[in-house]
């Protein structure tokens, strides 16, 4: 490549390493030697000393050393640095020559071998005549050496060998060829490295010593050269700190040189080399800021040193190379662990390099116009095929005067360079640099910079006439600029893209870019838009468009023929373009008029179109596709005949569509899936612009946002704008089809709250207000789904109210057919609900039917439904309590066995409605009735709210052994609401009676006595004393005297009662006072049985009796007296 003139020489860019030559090794035929050599050169990792080894034959000719100059007095240097110098010291002149020789200490022919070795050393020495290169000898031995000092023969022979070869002891090595070869080799090379360092040290000293002979006037070039050499030797010596120091001096010396047009290139070349070395070392020393500072200084110093104006492109090329190589150094340092930042990364240097390459291209285009052919002989070529000094002109090498020696030669030389420059593939260079930069900026989070560079790449491809690649790149970044709304930049990119599309005759791309350049985002001037629109119309008519301005004329002719070929091709004249991701010149927004439509209404939608181009634009078809494709046929408008529809610039055009939704779509969404506008006609070229959804484009969301914020919307009022504000038009891409509004009434009548377990009746009245017959009326009634799960199990719904339903009845009755309903007809249904538990429930009544209607002349069957819900509370109808009492109406907490007692039940109504208690009954366990027949005392009793009904039963517990707690039985009540009809079923409510504790008594006493007494009339009381135990009981009885009574009978008695038998005691009481009187107290004690005391026995006995006063007796005596 022609750019290689500016490439840095590889010997400059490599890391200098000490050069050591190995001789006497036969690596081809001798396996031992081969192994040694491999050990030297294989596996050279960073931990091994930096030496570059080379195998050379023993009689190798090293470069001749020129005779040392003793005086510089008359010496005029011809240039700064010879082109071969670096290579010479890297690869040709060794720091050390090592002679390998196979010789064991106990070799039988020691003498001969020794002298042969000496001869070989001598040969090497001769060919290194005049150089300071060291020589070392390595003896390859088969035997493992003894520890030093023990082998006397060895030390003696070593000394003689050294003598014979004129070597110092330090330069003789032994390499036993045993197992530990690599270990020996590493020790050897470390020793070599020391020798090499000494060599370079002496070289540095030698170069330094020249300095005193130099003078500032004639030897300026030598100052630079010597500093450079010292620095380079220091690098070879691996003394990078000093190398950096000397390079820096060299750098400042370079800029002190007298610069003129003839040597400008040489100065810049050397400055570039030294700068490269400095930056490289700075990065190596991990001082990147020093490197950057040095580079900035370098650029600032050299930027203006253009040199010959006719070869100005050379300067740009050189500058570009400076930036590029710095970028590469930077990048390499990053790979080795340096961290770069967003604002300081290699990308900037690559970018600048590209920038200078672009300059170079421009300059080359300006300067290399003269189309002369290459003159012969070519003065730019030197006979030797290369230059002696870096940066010199081939036609005047070594010439250092200000004016060129031969003006004619100079002219042709420049001409040749210009002609050569013409052939340089500039675009390729630029694109390579740009893509390097892109990669870097991508890494350092600079998306916009990346886009910018990609635009430049695209433009460069355009210049290089690679339009496909150009378009690919431009297209890729366009959308970034579009979404960020940088219209000026987008327009510029589009313009380039349009040119590419034109030159490629890519119809689709051409149309797309035209459309966008005509759109509102384009910043092009009006006349350009006019021109573009004209071209677009031409393409639509299948004609060849006019060429874009600023296109290369030769390419334009090529493009013309491409276009006409394309136009001639039949078919493929239909193009579909998705415009949503662009900002096209026709804007489109569509909306359904409402977010929902009833199925018996027509669905209405509007499409708004607006053109932004300067001329009116006509189109032939507008169609909308919807999610249900059957509707699409209603949403098309086509131009009739020749008359096409037209959009005025800047005006909003509205198209209305309406259609009848299908009944199957009730409850579904209708969405717009796309909108298509057809430009052009079948005769020419059809272009379908298509939008997804309800239109809009990249910019419209933001515009709508701005419009909503805008103060303009408040300013309306005075002049009500006829035209819609485009930006504030909102899109409505979908609508719901909902069922027709039902024209029936559903009324519920019931009497809340519901009572537990009752058959709660809800009366439903359905009346039709339809004009036609409501068909297939169906009722769904019951518990509304989605409530608490337990409610479903405790609620039962039935239509049959004649009997109490069981648990199998469902909670929801679905789809009960009710037949048809004529207009005005009324239907009544009674739904019965049984709620087993209390709480509130939501009931749903859903009446559905279908009806025939006509929408816009079309017959459709609509399904309508009406829902009604009601919340019903369920409460307990009454509360039941039961208690046990003694025959004296005293509350009992335990029951005595075989002694009659009373069971009292209370029913307290809590229902807000009157209740009818039909009957009640007892189901007894354990105990039996004391009366012959248990008869309910609650027959057909009506209880109002908070009223209470009580019953009393006399019961007895038959004798039994256990005295534990026992269940007593159940109390059954059958009831209904009073308001419900006589045929409505009765509800059985079962109440479990409380458990009681039983006890047995040893003795039972009861008294027969009349219900009342009368003053001064004898009343006889008979006490029965029963022994309830299995033992004979001795009883002591005593009657205490009382003021209210006189009495006769046994006052105190002791008697015995046999088991199971009874004793009777008769007393005649004679009351003395009227009113409630306490009977004379009967004290009973069981001396044998201590468990029963008087007190517990006494509770069986009557305590008091009512004594009536003595009335005026109408007896015979008094009558007679009267």
């Amino acid at each position: 490549m022609a750019g290689s003139q500016w490439e840095l020489p590889p010997e400059l860019c490599c890391r200098p390493m000490a050069f050591v030559a190995l001789t006497g090794l036969d690596v081809v035929y001798n396996a031992v030697h081969r192994a040694i050599w491999d050990a030297f050169c294989a596996n050279r990792r960073a931990d091994r000393v930096p030496i570059s080894f080379k195998v050379l034959p023993g009689d190798h000719e090293y470069p001749k050393c020129r005779t040392k100059r003793t005086s510089y007095e008359w010496y005029i240097p011809k240039g700064i640095l010879k082109t071969g110098w670096m290579n010479k010291h890297l690869n040709l002149v060794p720091a050390l020559v090592v002679l390998f020789y196979e010789l064991d200490w106990d070799d039988p022919t020691w003498k001969e071998k020794q002298s042969e070795c000496a001869t070989k050393v001598e040969i090497v020495r001769t060919s290194l005549q005049g150089r300071n290169t060291k020589v070392a000898v390595v003896l390859i031995q088969k035997k493992t050496p003894l520890p030093p000092g023990e082998d006397l023969v060895a030390s003696e022979r070593a000394a003689t060998l050294c003598n014979a070869c004129d070597l110092s002891g330090k330069s003789l090595f032994v390499l036993p060829h045993t197992d530990h070869l690599v270990g020996y080799i590493i020790r050897l090379e470390n020793a070599f490295y020391e020798h090499a360092q000494t060599y370079y040290y002496t070289e540095i000293r030698r170069v330094k010593s020249h300095k005193e002979f130099l003078n500032k006037t004639t030897h300026q070039l030598l100052f630079v050269r010597h500093q450079f050499k010292i620095a380079f030797f220091s690098e070879l010596k691996q003394d990078t700190q000093n190398a950096l120091k000397y390079y820096r001096t060299a750098y400042s010396l370079v800029h002190e040189l007298r610069a003129h047009e003839t040597n400008m290139l040489e100065i810049k070349t050397m400055a570039g080399f030294i700068n490269y070395k400095i930056c490289r070392l700075c990065f190596q020393h991990n001082t990147p800021l020093d490197a950057i500072a040095q580079f900035r200084k370098h650029i600032d110093l050299c930027k203006k040193k253009i040199g010959s104006a006719e070869l100005a492109f050379e300067h740009s090329a050189w500058m570009s190379k400076q930036f590029q190589s710095f970028g590469e150094l930077f990048d390499e340092a990053i790979k080795l662990g340096l961290t770069a930042i967003q604002t300081q990364n290699p990308g900037f240097y690559y970018q600048q390099a590209a920038c200078y390459s672009q300059d170079r291209k421009q300059l080359a285009q300006q300067l290399c116009q003269s189309a002369a052919s290459l003159p012969t002989p070519e003065p730019a070529e030197t006979q030797a095929g290369g230059l002696d000094f870096y940066g010199q002109r081939p036609w005047r090498q070594g010439h250092q005067s200000i004016d060129p020696p031969d003006a004619e030669k100079e002219k042709t030389g420049i001409l040749v360079l210009q002609i050569k420059e013409r052939d340089v593939p500039h675009s390729e260079l630029i694109i390579a640099l740009l893509s390097n930069a892109v990669a870097q900026f991508k890494k350092y989070k600079c998306p916009r910079m990346k886009s910018h560079l990609m635009v430049q790449m695209g433009e460069e491809y355009y210049h290089a006439k690679d339009y496909t690649k150009s378009l690919k790149l431009l297209d890729y970044v366009m959308c970034d600029y579009r979404t960020e709304r940088w219209w000026a930049l987008l327009s510029a990119i589009l313009t380039t893209a349009l040119r590419c599309a034109y030159l490629m005759a890519s119809v689709k791309d051409y149309i797309i870019y035209c459309m966008e350049l005509l759109g509102r985002a384009s910043t092009l001037k009006e006349e350009q838009k006019l021109r573009i629109e004209k071209n677009l119309i031409k393409v639509l008519k299948n004609e060849v468009p006019e060429a874009e301005p600023e296109c290369d004329p030769s390419s334009v002719t090529a493009a013309r023929s491409l276009w006409s070929d394309r136009m001639a091709l039949a078919g493929s004249n239909e193009l579909n373009i998705e415009v949503q991701d662009y900002i096209p010149f026709i804007q489109c927004k569509a909306r359904f008029q409402s977010p929902s439509f009833h199925v018996d209404q027509p669905v209405q939608l509007q499409v708004f179109l607006r053109a932004d181009c300067p001329h009116p634009v006509s189109f032939n078809k507008l169609s909308i596709s919807l999610s249900n494709q059957e509707y699409n046929q209603w949403c098309v408008v086509e131009s009739a005949g020749k008359e096409s529809m037209s959009l005025e610039p800047g005006k909003t055009q509205c198209y209305n569509f309406s259609f009848v939704a299908k009944t199957e779509d009730v409850g579904k969404k209708i969405e717009m899936t796309g909108i298509e506008v057809m430009l052009g006609s079948d005769s020419g070229r059809c272009v379908f612009l298509s939008w997804r959804g309800a239109g809009g484009d990249v910019a419209s969301t933001h515009e709508a946002l701005l419009a909503s914020r805008s103060s303009r919307r408040w300013g309306r009022g005075v002049e009500a704008r006829q035209e819609l504000d485009w930006d504030s038009l909102t899109m409505q891409p979908s609508t719901m089809v909902i069922s027709r509004v039902p024209k029936i009434s559903v009324q519920l009548s019931h009497q809340p709250p519901a009572l537990t377990n009752e058959m709660y009746c809800i009366n439903l009245t359905v009346q039709s207000q339809e004009e036609g017959v409501a068909k297939d009326v169906k009722l769904t009634a019951g518990l509304k789904p989605g409530q608490e799960a337990t409610l479903g199990q405790t609620t039962h719904v039935t239509l049959d109210g004649s009997k109490v339903c069981d648990d199998s009845a469902p909670a929801l009755l679905p789809d009960l057919p009710l037949g048809d309903l004529n207009p005005g007809q009324k239907l009544e249904i009674c739904v019965h609900v049984k709620c087993v538990s209390t709480g509130s429930r939501v009931f749903l009544f859903h009446v559905a039917y279908s009806i025939d209607t006509t929408v816009e002349g079309r017959q459709i069957v609509c399904k309508c439904h009406k829902d009604d819900t009601v919340t019903i509370e369920t409460v307990v109808p009454f509360e039941v309590s039961a208690k046990f009492m003694s025959t004296k109406f005293e509350q009992l907490d335990r029951l005595a066995v075989d002694i009659p007692f009373l069971l009292m039940t209370d029913i307290l109504s809590t229902s807000p409605w009157p209740l009818l208690l039909a009957s009640s009954s007892l189901q007894l366990l354990t105990m039996t009735t004391n009366t012959p027949q248990l008869q309910s005392q609650l027959q057909e009793v009506v209880l109002q709210t908070d009223e209470c009904a009580s019953e009393c039963f006399c019961l007895r517990v038959p004798p039994m052994n256990s005295s534990n707690t026992v269940a007593t039985g159940q109390y059954l009540i059958s009831w209904r609401r009073k308001s419900s009809g006589a045929d409505s079923p009765l509800i059985q409510t079962t109440v479990t009676l409380p458990h009681v504790i039983l006890e047995t008594v040893p003795l039972y006493i009861h008294a027969d006595l009349p219900s009342f007494g009368r003053v001064r009339e004898s009343l006889s009381v008979r006490y029965h004393i029963e022994n309830r135990t299995a033992l004979v009981q001795e009883v002591e009885m005593a009657v205490e005297p009382s003021d209210a009574f006189m009495f006769s009978g046994l006052k105190q008695v002791r008697l015995r009662i046999l088991p199971g038998s009874e004793q009777q005691m008769l007393y005649n009481y004679y009351p003395l006072m009227a009113g409630y009187q306490t009977l004379p107290q009967l004290n009973i004690s069981l001396p044998r049985c201590l468990t029963a005391n008087t007190h517990s026995l006494r509770r069986f006995l009557p305590q008091r009796i009512f004594v009536k006063p003595q009335g005026r007796q109408l007896d015979e005596a008094s009558i007679a007296a009267a």
């Binding site: 920038c355 930049l489 701005l706 914020r709 103060s711």
Partner: protein, 139 residues
């Protein structure tokens, strides 16, 4: 002084760009646009560490061979960018700051205009005047 002055909306689209008419306008558009990379990075970096405490002046965004680009971000994330010729070494940081402050004040005035829609491009003679004042001194 300045060769290009730009105001960028919160959403990173240009509200106002003015450059020296003698030079390639498009190039400045690109320069301003690419500088947003650095602005964004700086804003996000500050947002994390200091919360609300942020200096509006962002300083030198990045140097190119020919220009220096300075940035400034208002609390409502509107960005100001000033591009200065690299050769103009006399310009101090303080002067740039004061330019930004002047620009910010004038911008606030524009926003206070009840007839201005926030989000629209700036079309104000007063603002033009302030910007011209900063650009003219270079000539």
């Amino acid at each position: 002084m300045a060769v290009c002055i730009a105001v960028i909306a919160k959403e990173n689209y240009p509200l106002y760009i003015r450059s020296l008419p003698t030079q390639n306008e498009l190039k400045f558009h690109y320069t301003v646009h690419t500088s947003l990379d650095v602005v964004e990075e700086k804003i996000s970096a500050v947002g994390k560490s200091l919360g609300d405490q942020r200096e509006l002046y962002l300083g030198l965004l990045y140097p190119t061979e020919d220009y220096k680009v300075y940035g400034y971000v208002t609390n409502s994330k509107v960005k100001f960018v000033i591009v200065v010729d690299s050769s103009n070494t006399s310009l101090r940081d303080n002067e740039i700051r004061s330019m930004f402050r002047k620009l910010h004040n004038s911008f606030t005035d524009v926003m206070c205009n009840p007839f201005h829609n926030p989000g629209d491009t700036i079309q104000s003679k007063a603002f033009d005047g302030i910007v011209s004042g900063m650009m003219v001194q270079a000539a």
